[in-house]
Chain length 408, copies 2
């Protein structure tokens, strides 16, 4: 079902009103639809309509049974509801949508062709929508993505390893997802970009902002060559809980999460465990047992995670695609159903042999960043493959490259 403009507008407003991952809000949206839920939040006294009280049949003699129906359903809390109502009055979804559109961005909601359906695994904690900046198709990229996360205060060993893994993943046509933080996250994004590869930063603030400010240049580069995405509307600031809830999106979006360095009780372990709970691959890169920054990873490796030491081992694991993308028997899309700009890039590839990005971009008449984004989409769809720094048509046009990694 294609989302309506009203639905998109209501969801854009809701990203301003409710905090990411709020399952009460998710349930209410599922029950009422986003538009009605938003409307009910704007009618301050109608708690009963918003959260219909479950029918009660109080037992005689049970002195703890309430004598009146509760004003808010259990677990939601009056304060949270008051917050929602207060914020509902200040939401400016039209302005937010305009603002992000002027930055070359958009607001994706469930039902959009570019919506990554694997986020449905989050249930009522699924994002209400995703604010995006960057030239690529989120769904296509996310189907072939791996999260590389870890400590902010990483060691040179950790930074080197994250960058090397990310470059290796990019070289193999995989998209590197991380959180744009200092340390491992930044090294992973940079490694992917340096390898001419694709990377997605999942932010805990608005996609018009740059947090941490020290990574403003990196984040802008990702918006040009990769994708910036986030649940929060433009102008929103990160908070501790927003960082933590952001991690579930990283875990759900990707085929697997690799932790490079992490102390005990670190946020990266939260991401890794969320990935495991969601049935994604959980991986860890070991380090010296004398390093506290590897202690959290080792803890993970003694439990649910698989030890990996290079990009080939990661791809070996996540390439067995499993439920996210079952083995395909034919092309995902016929050529003539491709969007015009994607089809133009596909037409720009030579009939035989590889070509460098610059040549393809010149023949397609598109900016190299945009061309690269389309090439990664075409890669996900099985039309093209990377060969060192060049791109070529896949040999077996009726059997996309994904099928070779098909689950067994």
């Amino acid at each position: 079902m294609t989302p309506t403009d009203d639905e998109r507008l209501a969801r854009a407003a809701l990203t301003h009103i409710v905090e990411p991952g709020d399952e009460h809000a998710g349930r209410a949206v599922r029950r009422h639809g986003a538009t009605t839920f938003l409307q009910l939040l704007k009618e301050p006294d109608d708690d009963a309509a918003l959260f219909p009280a479950p029918r009660t049949s109080p037992k005689d003699g049970d002195r703890r049974a309430p004598t009146r129906a509760p004003e808010t359903p259990p677990g939601i809390g009056e304060r949270r509801l008051a917050n929602w109502r207060r914020r509902a009055r200040t939401a400016t979804p039209e302005r937010d949508l305009d603002h992000v559109a002027r930055l070359g961005g958009r607001f994706l909601v469930p039902g959009d062709p570019a919506w990554p359906r694997q986020l449905d695994d989050l249930g009522d904690a699924r994002p209400l929508g995703l604010w995006c900046r960057g030239p690529a198709d989120l769904r296509g990229w996310a189907l072939r993505s791996v999260a590389v996360v870890g400590a902010r205060a990483c060691t040179p060993y950790g930074a080197h390893t994250a960058a090397t893994l990310a470059a290796g993943l990019a070289e193999r046509g995989w998209v590197v997802v991380s959180g744009a933080a200092f340390g491992i996250d930044g090294a992973a994004h940079r490694g992917a970009l340096a390898g001419g590869g694709a990377t997605i930063a999942v932010l805990a603030c608005g996609v018009d902002g740059a947090y941490p400010p020290g990574h403003a240049a990196l984040i802008n580069r990702i918006a040009e060559q990769g994708l910036l995405i986030g649940e929060l509307p433009p102008g929103a600031h990160p908070t501790r809980s927003r960082f933590i809830l952001r991690n579930r999106v990283i875990a759900a979006l990707t085929r697997g999460t690799v932790v490079v360095e992490a102390e005990h009780r670190s946020g990266s372990l939260v991401t890794a465990r969320a990935a495991a709970r969601l049935g994604r691959h959980t991986m860890g890169v070991p380090g010296p047992v004398t390093s506290g920054l590897s202690a959290g990873v080792h803890e993970l490796l003694r439990g649910e995670a698989t030890l990996v030491t290079d990009a080939a081992e990661i791809v070996e694991l996540v390439g067995a695609i499993g439920q996210l993308a079952p083995p395909r028997r034919g092309p995902v899309l016929p050529r003539d159903l491709l969007a015009p700009d994607t089809a133009r890039v596909l037409e720009a590839l030579p009939g035989r042999g590889p070509a460098p990005l610059a040549d393809i971009a010149a023949r397609a008449g598109t900016h190299p960043d945009h061309t690269l984004a389309k090439l990664y989409e075409l890669h996900s769809l099985g039309f093209v493959e990377r060969q060192q720094d060049d791109w070529r048509l896949t040999n077996r046009r009726t059997e996309p490259s994904n099928a070779r990694h098909g689950g067994t």
Copy 2:
């Protein structure tokens, strides 16, 4: 069945005649007994008696059926048999036994009370006997032992880690087994000794020798405070194949093998895989993925091995004793069946509270090294426990401490 003097003498001779782990020899000893096997080797022309040809019923028309009985059984080879016969003429078992006895050593054979019965798991590759030097009871020590092995050309990180693990194991009353080589082996022995703990070196040469020569002082120290053992008779030199075959004894003797640093295709991986095949715990200590010396360990950790980062994690694993020593319901031995010198050390412990080694040795009137050996035996038997650097009687005298680690 207690071994006879003839049996012991024949087995001592056979350690000079056949190479360690030779399954053909093991089968022949099982069939004939060591004494008869040795006798047959000294009668050069009686191959048929040595290896009776299996009864053959040649099929009519099978042109490949031999027309005469083979002179040597398949797989043994005439050269090996000729070698055995040649060496049988030069064996000097009485002199070897005397020589090792003068060094304070002995030659253990299956059936001896101190014979470690877990070596039976090696089947026909079980050692024919073990030459030993040192004050301790091999069986008691081996029941509570862990192998710590790894690369000769280790890094400072590897050496530090091996020494720390070994000291931690010793502190917890566990015996550290290794191969006395440079690098990880030496660090493990030294770590155990420095912690006032017990250690066993399994040599690939005679226990009167010291290989590598640069470890002569360490090896002598182990002979005084720990145990030197090996399959080869005094005077025997190590060879490449003897090193490799020595590893199966390390694997079989211990409850588990920890690999600290190892390159791909290293001998330590042979030991670890032998341990896994024998149902022992296989463990690895991770390191930087950028280090070739950790690559072999990581390979192991991606397969059968458990990642460990400290002594507590090792003990947690091997302490679940399993088949080697099922949970005990009462003391292993009544006090009055202890050997007199062991009983004397037990009597020297205070009735309540801990005492330092030096005090116990003084009260027992025995050398501290000898006292320590006896304390580890008493530990295996559940009579005493270590408390930091001191020793004390276990609180629950009717339930030895091993029972607390009983398999579940």
